[in-house]
Subunit: 142 residues, 4 copies
Amino acid sequence: MHHPEIPTIHVDVQIMFFDTDCAAVVNNIAYLRFIETARTLLAEQIGMSLAQMAETQRYPVVVRTEIDYKRGATLGNKLEVKGWLEKVERSTFWVAFEITRPADGALIVTSRQRLALVQMPEGRPIRLPKEWDVRFKHLKAH
Amino acid sequence: MHHPEIPTIHVDVQIMFFDTDCAAVVNNIAYLRFIETARTLLAEQIGMSLAQMAETQRYPVVVRTEIDYKRGATLGNKLEVKGWLEKVERSTFWVAFEITRPADGALIVTSRQRLALVQMPEGRPIRLPKEWDVRFKHLKAH
Amino acid sequence: MHHPEIPTIHVDVQIMFFDTDCAAVVNNIAYLRFIETARTLLAEQIGMSLAQMAETQRYPVVVRTEIDYKRGATLGNKLEVKGWLEKVERSTFWVAFEITRPADGALIVTSRQRLALVQMPEGRPIRLPKEWDVRFKHLKAH
Amino acid sequence: MHHPEIPTIHVDVQIMFFDTDCAAVVNNIAYLRFIETARTLLAEQIGMSLAQMAETQRYPVVVRTEIDYKRGATLGNKLEVKGWLEKVERSTFWVAFEITRPADGALIVTSRQRLALVQMPEGRPIRLPKEWDVRFKHLKAH
């Protein structure tokens, strides 16, 4: 039997001072950096290389973020960011994320982001790569 | 006739280099800083002063963010962040935001955040101030 | 008598959660944002507008930063950033900064940055504007 | 012959969107995050664990930063941050950094930071660990 591909990435991060705030936990904004790192490496894995983006000026652009903060994390914590391609629409796609703390198995953050492919500097939306129709057929929205 | 209070704040920001990225527009994460500034000043206006938070270690903590990116903004753009108290639940409340560019009237970003009041460093949720039951009765979720 | 021009700027900032870290004071990196804001507005005042930079792709680029942290600042503190053109060399110039807390007169941070004018994306250094030879003659290095 | 210990750390980073700005290179402030990460891991290696810092509220605090920007780095670049203990004074110590791009051997950034050990929240300076007198005798300033 054939297992359809679900592009997935795992990124390890350790909480630094600049990730925390005076409430002594990680500031809500810092997680978006962790997520951007995972998303960028996932895009590279799917075939959108950073070098190519910089050259063609075609970038996957975040058009919506949903993020739920479940538990606080603190200085020095080692977290794992898991990101995966969740859904592919005509001209946008969704990536989902889960941030956990392996030391105690705590679920820290869940998130989803919707992205569009955009030609800069005009900001013009571009159709997703044609090959995605077949490659990610099982992730197509109905 | 009596107009019920809807606490609202307006904050002006100008886009700096560190707000942009190499796609030549404002990075999606930067808007969360603008929103945090508006939210913090709104909290102060409602009666949660920063000095008091630091002293009592009771902080309004973001438990969910939803943010939609409508249009790109660029270096030097002057934006207006409008934030207001949208809904009050038993132990959490929602604040809504709209970021616009007055120069051309463009709507740049819309966002909503759900917050809980938390006693640090334990991370224990606290009941919202009792006086909110009356003061924000018209914003109560049903 | 003629007072030679020393371009100077004052910027007010208030410390937000994302400026602090878990040591409960402002993180050392946050001050560099305050300084970049002051520097950018100073550059605009001297005649390097942000819109023009984005169009011509000629940017003042930081080539060296020196910063001394004198006192900690905390959540909610209102600080004043003063920045001024300190010295003009053949192809670079220095801007100096002082960050104070008016409430108690405390000196929080002092800093100096050396900048070069650079043509992007090549990264090629450009001569400073000719008119600066006369305009900032009194700030010329010997 | 005995080689005296010079605590040294190497950290790999890859340039993400949020590290760059609209001049298409890494924003000057982003390097300070890379340096903070290296410095924190170096501190941990020397015996100042993050968990211990958070518990005792004794933190190494940056009192001065000097940083020279030699070359620009761009989206997707893989950089190596090398940090080492440079000098130990009575109550402060210096850490030095070099950021290079292994792909072409380019030297991107050099930096030095002076740190003091501080008891928070009072902000009171603390004497460096007594064992450093012997352990880092060869790094003592004269």
